[in-house]
Symmetry: C2
Subunit: 503 residues, 2 copies
């Protein structure tokens, strides 16, 4: 058995190294690659991914799992075998001809979208999206026995999640959010014009860098570069990078995206080094990952205690811009809630309604209740009903997000809101365990929180299933209670709303 385990580990390390090499090629493509490199780079990444896939689905892996059927219960070895086998099964079920077909379609669709979105041209994208829906349904059929065709997609990125479970969570959340948004809408909106004064980019970056260093992001095992869309990527336990973008007339954009990506990175940097190179050495699910980016971005870095510590530093960095703004005015401005058209610019409260609109439309596309040709109208209707706004065109409507035009449907959007829900539940548990948490944050002491998260979440990597991890760390099953409680308490106070009347 030791021999089989050793061989399994060696093979997994190879898969990991090939995937990491592909990830570095992608990172370079987004950061430094000159335009002329694009064509060969696409081919090189595809090749490395193909090699990783071949190794991941090598029948020898199946033989090894057979030999390892009797690893001790509840051991790390058992977790390793379970997770490796899950990835093996997922990869084996989907024929590589399908993988190529859908990658090629996704690439072509993405290229078309980059042109069609600015031209507000949904007609061009309609056949692409129709094929995407059809491919997404075919993907589901590789996993017979599902209740809803979104289930296999969800399970792949958020193990244990189904369309039914997501719907249940989201319905409960929507019931709480809609009246909260309405109550906030009835109040005067705080001034946030000063966030859009001129903030020189290098100073913004230096400020962001110093803050995430204080949060615990380890620059000896990472770095930050510029990309059009910020992301986190990992090449090994010792190399977890983040990217950002910055706008001179928006002091929040780069900062919160920096903390968001640093949150993802704190999770990966916190995984036990001994798990590196195995499938246990990665964040366990899209939702849990997003819980950490959102926890650091919102529950920490948009909190009043955080700015007690950080605002004097921000003001020192931009003394002219902020001399007429006190910390409370600043805190109100960065937490301004307003129904808007664009998901990625949305505040903490309305953000989830954007997600729900998309998830609901996706479910209906996948199970046939909605045709792609009717999607634009359905989008407008859903936005009107949920957020009370209507996009003037498809550019800021159905063409808004890259997701539907660069991959399959059903696996991505719910993770964002699951992340918010989980993040609040983890944070509430940390707060129970660390009663002086706010005070520590107000003094710029983040090691205690990071320590709690490392102990209860990060170090485990993918050892526990996502929903088990939530329950182990927080003492209760996943629920929207903590998130709703957090939003009511925070925004009730900020907007002077008696949230007890909203229940």
């Amino acid at each position: 058995m030791t021999e089989a385990l050793d061989e399994l580990r060696t093979r997994l390390q190879e898969v990991s190294d090939l995937s990491s090499a592909a990830a570095l090629l992608s990172w370079d493509q987004m950061t430094y690659m000159p335009p002329g490199g694009a064509e060969a780079r696409g081919r090189q990444i595809a090749m490395l991914e193909k090699l990783a896939h071949a190794r991941r689905t090598d029948p020898r892996m199946g033989e090894l799992f057979g030999k390892l059927a009797n690893v001790p219960e509840d051991s790390r070895e058992q977790a390793l075998v379970r997770v490796a086998r899950r990835k093996y099964d997922l990869a084996r079920r989907v024929p590589s001809s399908f993988v190529s077909e859908s990658s090629e379609h996704a690439a072509a669709s993405y290229v078309a979208w980059t042109k069609a979105r600015p031209e507000n041209d949904f007609a061009t994208m309609r056949p692409f999206l129709e094929r995407t829906v059809e491919l997404s349904q075919r993907y589901a059929d590789f996993f017979p026995g599902y209740e809803h065709p979104a289930d296999p997609h969800m399970d792949a990125s958020d193990e244990g999640m189904t369309a039914a479970r997501v719907k249940e969570l989201f319905d409960s959340l929507r019931g709480a959010l809609v009246p909260l948004v309405a109550a906030i809408g009835a109040k005067p909106s705080p001034d946030d014009a000063f966030l859009h004064r001129t903030y020189p980019v290098p100073v913004q970056l230096e400020f962001g860098r110093s803050i995430i260093e204080a949060l615990g992001y380890d620059f000896d095992r990472g770095r930050q570069d510029f990309t059009h869309h910020p992301f986190m990527t990992k090449f090994a336990h010792g190399d977890v990078r983040i990217t950002t973008r910055a706008k001179e007339n928006d002091v929040g954009d780069a900062f919160f995206s920096t903390v968001h990506e640093a949150g993802h990175a704190l999770y990966e940097q916190g995984i036990d080094a001994s798990l590196d190179g195995t499938p246990l050495g990665e964040g366990v699910s899209a939702g849990v990952h997003e819980s950490q980016s959102r926890l650091w971005e919102n529950l920490v870095a948009r909190s009043r205690p955080f700015w007690s510590w950080a605002y004097p530093q921000l003001r020192a960095a931009f003394p002219e811009n902020l001399k007429d703004v006190d910390v409370d005015a600043f805190h109100r401005a960065i937490n301004r809630v307003t129904p808007s058209l664009i998901r990625v610019d949305a505040d903490e409260v309305t953000y989830n309604l954007h997600v729900m609109v998309r998830v609901d439309l996706e479910m209906r596309l996948l199970d046939g209740r909605l045709a792609v040709r009717d999607l634009p109208d359905a989008w407008h209707a859903a936005y009107q009903a949920t957020l009370g706004v209507r996009a003037p065109d498809d550019r800021d409507g159905v063409l808004q997000d890259v997701h539907w035009y660069s991959g399959l449907l059903g696996g991505a959007f719910q993770g964002y809101t699951l992340g918010n829900v989980m993040g609040a539940q983890f944070f509430a548990a940390a707060r129970r365990a660390l009663p002086d948490l706010d005070e520590r944050i107000a003094h710029g002491e983040f090691g205690t929180l990071r320590g709690w998260l490392t102990e209860n979440l990060y170090r485990h990597g993918s050892t526990h299933r996502p929903l088990e991890l939530v329950e182990r760390a927080t003492g209760k099953p996943l629920s929207t209670d903590d998130f709703v409680g957090y939003l009511r308490s925070k925004f009730g106070a900020l907007y002077g709303i008696d949230t007890s009347t909203l229940r």
Copy 2:
């Protein structure tokens, strides 16, 4: 046959893509990788190289060459089969156990050297170097029939070269250089102190960048970054990168290294795009490659016509530093000849004597005429005899260059001087074809020269053997005549020496 060719091309593309991926991982290691990434990176690069090696030596390749024995004479296909087969044979002859053994030894030796050189500790390096000599001899034995154990090493990097041929060329060159160096030494040395004023690095870089753009380096298919040791690397026809370093108190260091690496890159960027991904799509040999870096660095960018155009720009970039220096004084300073201890800092004339010392010592180590224990004394004796200088210690003596401590002996150093010799021969041919070349250079018009080089050298990649390429492009076999003529004419004029008396 078409089928076999297609399969061969597909397989070669895979080898190329794996090698390019490994090269990108190395580039990142040198440029941006955080320290924590080192351990995994070494393993990842080794893995990609192993995969490339396995494909390069796949027996199926041998079968394909069998099927392709009758490709038409003098066709591009024949060249492809010939070069691919040569690489296959080279790789097949050397057992992979030997490759691992010597890579591991090279890595350990390099690590020891980084410590031993600053400590002037040859005793520590002696056993490493003894093993390197022994491994280099064993490598040669995989190619029975050689005349000198250096021959297989030379042939691998400079096809067609042997120890005997190199000795003949170098003897002829030495005969011309030694009296020239002596004659220059009898003349007063030009002042170059102003080269060492304070030149802010960002301005240096911007100047270098604008110059290589004018030379024709295409930043849409490349970029420049910082590394400790400058280099050029290629990931595809559309992605050929260079690196540099810069010292605030040396205006020449970054500039000439930038032009040097850009010269390598102009060669690679000029190779016909249709050869990309095959072994024909690479520079043909170490010597020819170096000929292009040295041609642009020395024959162009250290010439008087070049500075007629460039000096006003340099002066505009550093008006305070250079206000008391006219273009002739500047030109004399950057061409100052002085026997020195360090190869990489040497001028155009003495540089080759440094190379010859090394090559001669290597030959004697490899054929047993010299023992490693006697190397330090032999080094000092050779420097005394050739350059009239003596290093105060081994740090600037036998421990000076990384080459002997990071790989096998016999394949590297001669390429530097072959490059100088070939570069002058190519440039002389270009001058014959383009009589107004100096005038064009003096007006910053480099397209004509680059066009000639592209037509006669670059576009062919590895289609012609190096010595054939020299003969096709210049109309005569490789000889030191043009290089000696160039040095005599240029430095005769600069130092007021009647070089006819030196013959």
